[in-house]
């Protein structure tokens, strides 16, 4: 039996058409886009054609697109770049509690460097609390950074309303659109974004390439200093092959978006219906305001990592918000922010569909998952445990403590 890959939010395979578009720029058209000669011109032309394609998908002008090494760099350039260039205007940044680590940890870094950051909470459904956001944006606020859709629970944020709040105060808006670009509409004007991050490898393009949309008039401080590449915003010889790949991936996504989103939504909904028949399971995140390809469940009395490993043995690639394998040993900040207890957050399973996912795959997965959950529940002492015993354990110091790290 072939493998069933349901972790497209982590990464996607490079589309053969993308690979073909990249191929000439390794050995044949290898020029440096900064060179004056024909080889250089050829590379520069490919670069600018790619810029037009990516800009087109954002409803932007080509000179508003800066190529980067990926989503994390785009987030860093947007937030640190904006903060450092605009610190005379104020030192406050507003973001949400469920951002990707590339945004959260960039904000935490800025907190150590004189900025003040407010982390706005989200509701049980994963939508940003707009009242709290409105209160958090003050005179000193210079930037609001709210992701377009969450990578774990797939919830799509009401960016239109969020940008209205930001605009009323004359504050710039950054959005991490890594999970939405190429999947749903990401027109920068409609979203009201001044800065928008995107990545290649989430949309069947190569790893190591991404872009940042920078609205005309938005001033950034570069993070990488050197030559005058990317209008001085990002030094370093351009990754022409990668950028050509990102552009081709963008072109294919734009062409196939509507059909593919509808198809994946149908498969996803079938998956939800089937999985939620399992006793002690529920869906995390908003039921409808979510990415077409995202499903995120919790299973009571089951720990996510062991479930992912059991599914892997059955040929299914999935992921979890359980943190048993991360150094901090705390479950997903996103699942905690939507109100799950640590135990509930440890039992999460994320399945993200993609172009290769078929209806038959979903039926196979629906046949396998309930059985694997049941196997783990049979091993688990939690199902039969009294509330009193659970309370006693929750107060117990834990093995993790021995390594100098308290749990939760």
């Amino acid at each position: 039996m072939g493998r069933i890959y349901l972790d497209h939010a982590a990464t996607t395979p490079v589309d053969p058409r993308v690979l073909e578009a990249m191929q000439p720029f390794f050995s044949e058209k290898f020029g440096n886009a900064s060179s004056l000669h024909s080889e250089g011109t050829e590379a520069a032309e490919a670069l600018e054609k790619s810029r037009e394609t990516v800009a087109g998908a954002l409803g932007a002008k080509p000179d508003e697109v800066v190529f980067t090494s990926g989503g994390s760099e785009s987030d860093n350039l947007a937030i640190k770049g904006f903060a450092y260039a605009n610190r005379k205007k104020g030192n406050r940044i507003v973001t949400s509690a469920i951002e990707h680590p590339a945004v959260l940890n960039t904000c935490r870094y800025l907190e150590k460097n004189g900025f003040r950051v407010t982390y706005v909470p989200v509701g049980r459904n994963g939508i940003v609390d707009l009242n709290a956001l409105e209160k958090a944006v003050t005179e000193e606020t210079i930037l609001v950074s709210i992701m377009h859709a969450n990578n774990e629970i797939g919830t799509i944020q009401p960016l239109g309303k969020i940008s209205e709040i930001a605009k009323r105060r004359g504050v710039a808006l950054h959005t991490d659109a890594v999970q939405t670009f190429g999947k749903i509409e990401t027109d920068a004007d409609k979203l009201g974004a001044d800065l928008l991050s995107l990545s290649g490898h989430k949309i069947y393009g190569p790893k190591g390439v991404g872009a940042l949309f920078v609205r005309k008039g938005t001033v950034l401080e570069p993070l990488i200093h050197g030559g005058e590449h990317e209008k001085g915003l990002r030094a370093g010889t351009e990754n022409v092959a990668g950028i050509a790949g990102l552009a081709e991936a963008t072109r294919i996504c734009a062409k196939e978006m509507n059909g593919e989103a509808a198809r994946e939504t149908r498969l996803r909904d079938r998956l939800l219906k089937g999985i939620l028949e399992t006793p002690g399971s529920w869906l995390n995140g908003h039921r409808t305001k979510r990415l077409p390809n995202n499903a995120n469940f919790s299973f009571r009395h089951v720990e996510g990592e062991s479930l992912v490993l059991y599914l892997d043995m059955k040929g299914i690639a999935a992921s979890t918000g359980s943190a048993c394998s991360s150094l901090k040993l705390e479950p997903s900040h996103v699942l905690r922010a939507i109100g799950l207890t640590p135990e509930e957050a440890h039992g999460s399973l994320r399945l993200t569909l993609g172009r290769a996912t078929t209806a038959k795959d979903i039926e196979t997965v629906l046949e396998i998952i309930p059985g694997e959950v049941e196997k783990l529940r049979k091993i688990s002492p939690m199902a039969g445990m009294s509330a009193l015993e659970k309370k006693r354990l929750e107060k117990q110091p834990h093995g993790h403590g021995r390594h100098g790290k308290a749990c939760d």
């Binding site: 720990e303 359980s322 048993c324 991360s326 091993i379 002492p381 354990l393």
Partner: protein, 125 residues
């Protein structure tokens, strides 16, 4: 984060030995914390100073299940004196090593066994 488990860990995870509870066990030890994502219970039956039967139930990651499984194999048939000496390193060693972030699972398994033995000894008093 991807975790590299040894073949032996994966084998015990796929086919955990001695899963279950022992009705009327002579000693039961439950350790861990649901907040942290792992809880282990070990049940022992003792006859003639030896662990004649042992079973476990574990809620936790792959390493937590594998370490519980292996410790039941290590302890089965041992005298109480021998079983008390089974250490964290014995568990990890038997599995061909554990990734550093997973060493606490090995701790837990040893703690659960020792708690079951302590329970047995206290009941005899």
């Amino acid at each position: 984060m991807a975790v590299n488990y040894t073949k032996k860990v994966m084998e015990h995870l796929a086919n955990p030995r001695n899963v279950g509870e022992i009705p009327g066990a002579d000693g039961v030890g439950t350790v861990g914390n649901p907040v942290c994502g792992d809880v282990m219970s070990i049940y022992i039956k003792v006859g003639g100073g030896r662990i004649t039967d042992i079973k476990f139930k574990t809620y936790g990651c792959g390493a937590a299940i594998a370490t519980s499984s292996i410790i039941t194999e290590l302890a089965k048939g041992k005298t109480i004196e021998e079983a008390v000496k089974i250490s964290v390193n014995d568990v990890a060693g038997e599995l061909g090593g554990l990734p550093p972030v997973k060493m606490h699972c090995s701790n837990l398994a040893a703690d659960a066994l020792h708690a079951a033995i302590k329970d047995y000894q206290e009941r005899r008093k």
